[in-house]
Amino acid sequence: MIKPELKDFLQSEEIKIIKGNVAAAYAAKSARVQVISAYPITPQTTVVEKLSEFVDGGLMPGTQYIKVESEHSVLASLVGSSMAGTRTFTATSGQGLFYMYEMVHWTAGVRLPIVMAIASRGPAPPWNIWADFTDVISCRDTGWMSAFTATHQEIYDEILMSYKVCEDYDVLLPKFVAYGGFILSHTSKPVILEDQDKVDNFLPPLPDEKGWPHIWIDPKRPLMHGNLIMPSGFYSEFRMKIHDALIRSKSKIKAVAKEFEKTFGRSYGNGLIQEYRMDGADVAMLNYGDLALQMEEAIDAVREEGYKVGMVKLRHFRPFPVEDIIEVAKKVKVLGVMDRATAFGSPTGGPVSSEVKTALHGTKGTALIFPMINGIGGREVTVEQQKEQLKILIKINETGELPEDLLHGTLWHGKLEVD
């Protein structure tokens, strides 16, 4: 039953109860993308289905939709379209992202502002199609920015913000917008779809006829790209510039989040991280994706019990918010870092916890970092379990003792019992 106070809200034209995937498709529409290329893969499929409805149904006039034969061709064709000076969009998941990996590097190398939604899923084998961010995190070193989103609304909002960041002259890099497969991709929630004029005013204008400032296709100004370059040439400097732009994108992401809040009234922390009940917290958990949203409930419950716990939602993995994480780690005594992804052989086994430890290295007076992993391959994580996770942090803080059941220093929470 719909609560009476929600009725008006839900009947509004701009608010639709839609799947996370559909929110991603609406964001691409709102951003007036000019070229879409896609190949179906579970759990991304409804993004491309919805976009087909939009384009073939005449709701996106002028937009070209290339229905290619593989993910490699998805990103290859968008590289072509983007180089020619158009705003482009695609979406994929797990294996699809792995299949386009060569072009993932290529895109950042050309500095193309392509935005890609990722309905994240666990890598095979065995086959797995459920929430697990190992796919997007595997692209850590490609030069792409990557954002985690926690709500249906955030998928829509983050895609809009991403175009603004990506197309900034000082950034000019591609970006992933990831969300948990099925958990967000296939569930429905109300999403505010913003007024087109408002979105148009918020976003930079579509590229003019000349194309991007750094690359174009124009017979009157013939340009080559990608010639072989000797080690003594500028190859190293080009790579340095990608790293520099990625680091500097932090301030742009923050500025865009601020402007977004001002324009649309929805806040996503400082853009890089979003704190939840961190006031006076002794211990805190760092979460990302949909589990961060659910963790809010666990925090409320444990706070209710009198414990000072808080949460930090990581919104961006690349660029990694080093300074913000240091600040957070200075505020609390124990910081749990919960990964829903694996990084085999890394210091902690979890990609984000390894990253956090790296970020804090050399800074004195920061929290004990406790690496944890849960929800791998879409394994259910309940609020009760998240409360348990917080209690573990509280116990570490109180006794100084770590749990016994660690795998190389990391707690894999919610394991099946094996005889």
């Binding site: 002028g62 070209q64 034969e69 064709s77 072509g80 020619a84 296709i217 017979p219 990608g226 010639n227």
Partner: protein, 315 residues
């Protein structure tokens, strides 16, 4: 076929679009293929060149020989990137009408490895979608850029660095595979017949949909012949009937001028004359030679039957 006189009247054809000073080997067959392609197409194009000799011979960054928009690309990505260009030009034609974006030609210029091996999936996809692109395979019958390794376009009996005793399998017939896609235009060319190249590209330019043109482009160091003989070697491949020049427009097969007389087997030079000009066939066994000749004769037999059926059908 276009006469040289007619070509000389074409201002665009008289200009060189692939500039001198490039890094081609002496006697490079690819260079002839690219120069004549561009003479027919002119500069209003966007060219993608997946990994191949062409990525290197254009020159080291920041110098470059193509006097037209040209983009080096990942090996398997050629056809898809060309499709991406096409989509962007359509989108730009919508946003900036009357500015000529609808006239832009998207072209992929790939080697035989990038076409018959690693690029075939993307190419097949583009052809199935009937993307409005021209896909060119310049065929030097091996991975020459990486040092003469066999490709699926390497002919039977040829020595490469990965077939040191000669290739057992036969050359993949990619034009036939492209014909099976029912695209509006498929043609074969040889760099020994530049006017034929010119004419076929002029035609391809006027056709909407996927155009596939496969150009035989001998490689002096890879095949092992003196660099001044490139054109002659390509001509001999045509004369021996091992490389057949034809075009298929909307499904209708037409033999090109230089190949047509070869329907009569007595007009073909024996394959040994062609093979003996190249070191890659050194030490070829009599058995392999007979197999190659049989293959050629079979191909012609099939072609001849097809042409007869076609004539019957059109009556």
């Amino acid at each position: 076929m276009a006469s040289l006189k007619k070509v000389m009247e074409d201002e665009i054809a008289c200009k060189e679009w692939f500039l001198p000073g490039n890094a081609c080997c002496a006697g490079c067959g690819l260079e002839v293929a690219l120069r004549w392609t561009m003479k027919a197409l002119g500069p209003d194009i966007a060219m993608v060149t997946p990994a191949s000799c062409l990525n290197v011979v254009i020159g080291l960054w920041p110098k470059t020989a193509p006097d037209f928009p040209q983009f080096n690309m990942a090996f398997a990505a050629g056809a898809a990137v060309a499709t991406g260009f096409e989509a962007a030009f359509k989108a730009k034609a919508h946003k900036f009408p009357g500015k000529g974006w609808d006239k832009m030609i998207s072209i992929c210029f790939a080697g035989d490895g990038g076409t018959t091996d690693i690029g075939i999936q993307g190419l097949s996809g583009a052809a199935e979608r009937n993307s409005n692109i021209i896909y060119v395979c310049y065929d030097n019958e091996a991975y020459m850029n990486t040092g003469i390794q066999r490709s699926s376009s390497t002919p039977h009996g040829a020595i490469t660095t990965t077939t040191p005793f000669g290739k057992e399998r036969y050359k993949k017939n990619l034009p036939a595979i492209m014909r099976a896609h029912d695209i509006p235009y498929v043609a074969t060319c040889s760099i020994s017949e530049p006017l034929d190249i010119y004419e076929k590209f002029k035609k391809a330019k006027s056709i909407n949909g996927t155009k596939y043109i496969h150009i035989l482009a001998p490689c002096a160091p890879g095949w092992g012949f003196p660099s001044e003989d490139t054109i002659e070697i390509a001509r001999m491949a045509v004369k021996a009937g091992s490389w057949i020049l034809y075009e298929v427009e909307n499904g209708v097969l037409t033999l090109s001028k230089k190949s047509k007389p070869l329907l009569d087997p007595s007009k073909r030079i024996p394959i040994i004359e062609y093979v003996s000009t190249q070191k890659r066939f050194a030490g070829i066994s009599e058995k392999t030679l007979i197999e190659i000749q049989e293959q050629i004769d079979n191909d012609w037999e099939k072609l001849s039957t097809e042409l007869k059926c076609q004539d019957e059908y059109s009556k």
